[in-house]
Symmetry: C2
Subunit: 341 residues, 2 copies
């Protein structure tokens, strides 16, 4: 039986006159087949969808895949199979490596389309419940983390990972950013073997049942840090209030960016307001100045304004929101947290 | 000052008549510039090499990059810059996403080349010393891990990661495979929340100063498991003895594969014999049946034969070897280990 996700993709293919759609991205293959490759694999959506998987993944595919699978032998065989089925116009993923595209370009008319990403944008209630559970695990673990133990940044970030696993997470959804002092001005700082300084910025998440969570909290101390915290909090709160289906993603980014600009810190908000979250930690669409995608019900997107003073400190506050008639924050961890150092 | 690595690449470019070489792979950019991007970046090797990095990485690039960098604005600006410098033939990485290639294809004559991977194949003594240190950290941590603590697979694999960090590792070089019982027949098994069964298979590594280590040990118990262990050990030992510069990579794979075939288990050795290791855990060339690359001094490659009985058990033994006049195993952890469960 072919799932409704695959049927939707087949309809788009028919409309655009593609007879085959080649996928190699692990998350896309997992999304469509419940088989998450551990080595390379090629999934071809066509009248009868099929996965070509590596010899060493055959047992794994046999345990998990809802799509028929065969062992990949070589590209000639795969290409011959597709030609024999009458495939002439072949769709590929935008992320497909040039090298792989090159293997197919002589035999097919190729163009890239993001049908799977389009499907993945709108989360089912089951997907949202996985993201909600991942968020609960991550937030509960954060609250149990003992910042006053004397452990350094790196040890604390690792302990947070242990707590999340203990509560049922598969793993972190990305390398935990637990940073402090002047390193907090680097949006993607790496935890170091050094004692906590002020302020403390933690950007972390868990994976539950394949789905990611994403949050950031900054614990501030000085008057100056509080002042910046409150601006970032205003940008966070006001942009979330505005979110609703039908608006463009870039309009939400603008709400937060305009608030930060008004206070004179526009140049220091050095990234987009947010990104979608699901099986991957970064999905589309984005709350970014350039993303004109229309917001729809069922999207799950982060809101994470930040202000960064190079070599001094940074403040970022991030929640993940589920979009229905309006935006609902997933999880219930307060933005303002106090930790006595 | 332009490094000798970049000069070597510029020479290859000149020979092949490329005026520019576009790189987006993080490890490649790190290899050439010492700046490891935390967000997207484009490095263009040309007469004056330059990196276009994301706004949020500008501070990181300023701290680390040995190559000039500017802030990426958009693709039109980047393309205009390259055209103004007279670039007509543009080389790209084989791994470059189709979507990125598409942005450049109208304005340049493009082909993919693996100049950087070619450079990265031959490790300097400094790179080998980093891999050696990573291996020492990983092996010392393994010996300290208490398999008899009653902790389950997942908790033990996490504890191994903690020990490696404590000894100076940046992180694991890949998700630790600590598996046992029938799951050991999956080459890339995922540690589970279950008590250890027999046999135990651990495939793990550390990152030190950016460089990866990679080892596998299988702890066997039954007579049958020992029998298979000894076949895998013979394939491991004999193939390492044969390695020397001038031979083809596939010839080494064949030595191990022939031994396993002789014992009647050829169909159960379901992956290649080995892969190169460096800044990435999987580099080229590979000890695989299809890789005709010539072995050279300075290569660092794994040797990891395995035999897998579906739903029963698997045995894999892996060392990483440094190639000089012959192959020298990095590290000194014995293949045969005893753990009383």
């Amino acid at each position: 039986m072919i799932s409704s996700k695959i049927e939707n993709i087949q309809k788009r293919m028919e409309k655009d006159d593609f007879q085959g759609y080649l996928l190699a991205d692990f998350a896309n293959i997992n999304y469509l087949s419940k088989y998450l490759p551990s080595s390379f694999a090629f999934c071809v959506i066509k009248e009868g969808p099929i996965i070509y998987c590596s010899q060493m993944d055959m047992e794994l595919a046999s345990k998990n895949s809802t799509i028929q699978y065969v062992q990949f032998e070589n590209f000639s065989k795969l290409i011959d199979d597709l030609k024999e089925e009458g495939i002439k116009n072949l769709a590929i993923e935008p992320s497909l490596p040039f090298e792989t595209f090159s293997k197919f370009k002589e035999d097919f008319k190729i163009d890239s389309v993001d049908y799977v990403n389009k499907e993945r944008m709108i989360k089912t209630s089951e997907e949202i419940s996985n993201i909600t559970k991942a968020t609960k695990i991550a937030q509960d673990s954060f609250l149990e983390l003992d910042f006053t133990s004397g452990a350094n940044e790196k040890a604390l970030s690792y302990e947070l990972g242990r707590l999340m696993r203990q509560k049922g997470a598969f793993s972190e959804s990305f390398d935990t950013i637990l940073t402090s002092g002047s390193n907090s001005s680097l949006p993607h700082a790496i935890p170091e073997n050094k004692q906590l300084e002020k302020p403390i910025l933690v950007d972390w998440g868990a994976i539950y049942n394949g789905y990611c969570s994403d949050n950031t909290r900054t614990i501030v101390y000085s008057e100056r840090e509080y002042e910046i915290f409150n601006i970032v909090k205003e940008a966070h709160d006001e942009s979330i209030k505005v979110i609703k289906p039908g608006l463009k993603c870039c309009e939400i980014d603008k709400v937060a960016r305009d608030i930060i600009k008004e206070y004179g810190y526009g140049d220091l908000f050095i990234h987009s307001l947010g990104h979608s979250v699901g099986l991957d930690i970064h999905e589309t669409p984005n709350f970014s100045p350039k993303d004109e995608s229309i917001i729809e019900k069922g999207m799950v997107i982060t809101v994470e304004p930040g202000i960064y003073f190079e070599d001094e400190f940074g403040v970022r506050l991030e929640d993940t929101v589920e979009i229905q008639k309006s935006a609902k924050i997933i999880g219930d961890l307060p933005l303002e947290l106090n930790i006595d150092l």
